[in-house]
Amino acid sequence: MSLENVFFLLMKFVIPLYLLAFVIYAIRAFKGPTIVDIILAVDCLSFDIAAFMAILAVYFKSAFLISGAITLALWAYLLDIYVAKHLVSKEVGA
Amino acid sequence: MDVIGLTPIIPILFAFALPLTSILIKGNRKLIQAYALTGTGLTLVSSFKLFQLAYASENPLVYTFGKWIAPIGIVYEVDKLSALIALITAALMFLIAIYSYRYLEHDEGLEWYYTLYLGLESGLLGVLLTGDAFNLFVMIEVTSIAAYALVMFYRDRGDSVTAGFKYGLIGAIGTTMYFIALGILYGAFGTVNFAHLAMKIHLPAASFIKVSSGYVTLDVLLKAEPTWNIILASGVALALATWAFLIKAAIVPNHFWLPEAHPAAPSPISAILSGLVVNVGVYAMIRFLYTVYSDVSGELAHVVNVLSAVVIALGAVSALFGAFMMTIQKDVKRLIAYSTIMHMGYLFMAVGVGSSLGLQAAVFHLINHAVAKALLFLAAGIFIHAVGSRNVENLAGLGRKMPIATFSLAIATLSLVGVPPFNVFFSKLALFNALIEENFGLALVLVISSAIALFAYMKVFYIIWFGKPRKEIEVKEPMSMSLVVLVLALTCLAIGLLAPVILDKFIAPAAEQTVNYQVYIKAILELASKTLS
């Protein structure tokens, strides 16, 4: 069995795991109850999707797809910081 | 030939450099004004050159950006219609730039104003010149976003910011609709170029055009069959696009933003919005109905007929609605804004008729309305500038103190209701002829709404001329502003007096060329075979 086939076999286990995890994160985001819970769920969701994107890049055998992961990680962090700042002080900028 | 491509690029280039220039010259108002006049003046020169070129040549002029021919890249395809309207647009923009300086003497932020102004001009010209449906979308967005920002120019007045917000929201919905329509058109026909779309729609009929190119790839490209059911796709796409254009032209179900947005802007901007920006919707509608979907047969004709009927009905409703709403307004600019809705109704009625006569009438009326409506707003703007209020009652009795402005206001009102020697009379006559061919009721709508509008205008005019002034105020006519309105008033008169000549020399050829989709396609194809061989 070549490495490629091993990898595709691996994918058959890993992709459902990730999709299930996404759905569970989404349920947590839906249930809330406070805003920080939602943002935490968004946070986990986006970092995991970044990882998932990297895995899929190998799965699709295309290096071009992976740069989305970096940006997603960066912007998800930005969202955290903004919501935290809004909760700490009313003005985000100051 | 570069003049075609450069016409919309000049103003945007000036707009790009204006913030930097303004920082360099430390916000000197006179220099900024001179800069803006240079920008608009150069554009005027270039569009005049374009006008000459377009009327000198038999076929539409084509400019290929980046040397890419039609379906591959973007082309600007200028026929007589677009060149004519572009000339009017550039001329009005130049005159209004002169007018703006005095009007905004009390306001800060002249550099921002002119940056947006130049952007607006670039967008308007781009809409008129482009030969690509997606480029039309981008250009409509350039126009709209500058318009939204200019409506909100008086940022400390709540009504103008609210009006700008509403305008922006509804405009964003409309353009997104148009974008979906474009997606469907691309899905069905595999192209977004107007000429190429027209070719695919008239595919059996268009086989008369020979492509004399040895290049296989391009041949395949031009002859590719539509992939989806074109009747269904055309129906959905046309419905969505029409909805978007109805929003842009403020026809009745989507009119509500106009009476708030137009009065809230500074008067010169109101003149541009009412005279030129609403034309975007009408022009795009003409392009789709008369160039792309002209002379279609079979089930496609059925789709186009249904669409035309809807357009006519909505146009009639908005003509009557605008006329009635005019009579109960107290705010001068709001009254004029409702009159814009009425005139847009006329234009859509004429566009929907679908005959060559209807198109001629629509084009002539579009031009006349642009000049006269701009004049009306500018003349009213002089009074508003002097008094600082938009309420009719506060303007009472000012007429005798400002003779030139009053004279221009008189000409504008008389012209817009359609009194004989002035320009709009002749276009209304043409509209009447075109509409009575289609249906007597439509002609009746035209007459009734004109009569109601006459009543509304006379009321305003009476108050301004004979009304008792509320309080004595010293007013003086600002020279540069009066000059502009005087020029426009004389233009109105001149167009009126020369109407038969203009109709014969400029309007009829333009209308003829617009309907002739074969020439439109041929211009592209000839260029393609010439570039490739």
Binding site: L65, L74 | P19, L20, T115, G119, D156, L221
Partner: protein, 247 residues
């Protein structure tokens, strides 16, 4: 849970309709002729833009005018926002004065932000400048660049950014330079007898003019977002005082 009842009904309707519809739909397996043309010609072929990145080639070469005016839409939006929040010289100075109580986030966040800001500069530049070879380009790189000032605004405050010398006016100048660069690159072919925005014979190397466009767009977009968010970051109290409304 009550919220979910309407959406469940909608999804059920969708599945029902899709069952009806699915017989009539053919899955699309081919590219349209125009798309195929771009795929074949973007690097090889007679109509080449000398870029293996087809989307960037379409954006900045085949349909370059669209992107030029798209950039100007963004430019006009920023100018519109500046018009809406315009300040004269005195008011600008007033807005730059630190208000007494500035809530900054904790040391952990500040330190991490510093590290990430350094990484952002490298990542965004690589996204932008390889735009003609790999996905990305001026806009994508520029928007990644804009994360850096945005993070500083939130984690420290806008005053920290202004103390480093990046205020609204400077951002606007950078933006103007970027835009003028784009316009000049677009008009340069005219001097050599070409068409506006022409790429290949005039810029004869890999990707042609795409790399210049990407670089200038990178500057313009990054600076544009910075200007917008610096304006938004002015505290409400200060702005209300300037405007003379409320309280």
């Amino acid at each position: 849970m009550k919220k979910l009842i309407p959406i469940t009904i909608i999804i059920l309707i969708i599945f029902g309709l899709a069952y009806v519809m699915s017989g009539k739909i053919e899955p699309q397996e081919n590219v349209r002729a125009l798309g195929k043309f771009y795929l074949e010609n973007s690097y090889f072929g007679d109509y080449s833009a000398k870029s293996p990145e087809v989307v960037t080639a379409i954006l900045w070469d085949y349909r370059g005018v669209d992107t030029l005016f798209e950039t100007s839409v963004f430019f006009l939006a920023i100018i519109g926002s500046l018009t809406l929040f315009r300040l004269n010289k005195k008011q600008e100075k007033e807005a730059k004065e630190r208000i007494e109580k500035v809530e900054e986030l904790t040391l952990v966040i500040k330190t991490v932000t510093k590290v990430i800001v350094a990484m952002i500069l490298a990542v965004s530049a690589s996204i932008a400048l390889h735009g003609h070879l790999t996905p990305g380009g001026g806009f994508q790189g520029g928007s990644a660049l804009a994360v850096a000032p945005l993070l500083i605004i939130a984690a420290y405050s806008k005053y920290a950014l202004e103390k480093q010398g990046l205020d609204k006016t400077r951002a606007l100048i950078l933006r103007s330079i970027g835009l003028i660069g784009i316009a000049l690159i677009a008009l340069l072919p005219l001097t050599k007898g070409g068409f506006i925005m022409q790429n290949q014979p005039i810029f004869p190397w890999l990707g042609g003019s795409l790399i210049f466009y990407n670089f200038f767009e990178y500057l313009a977009v990054g600076a544009g977002f910075t200007a917008v968010f610096l304006l938004l970051a002015i505290p409400e109290k200060v702005f209300k005082k300037i405007l003379g409304v409320g309280e």
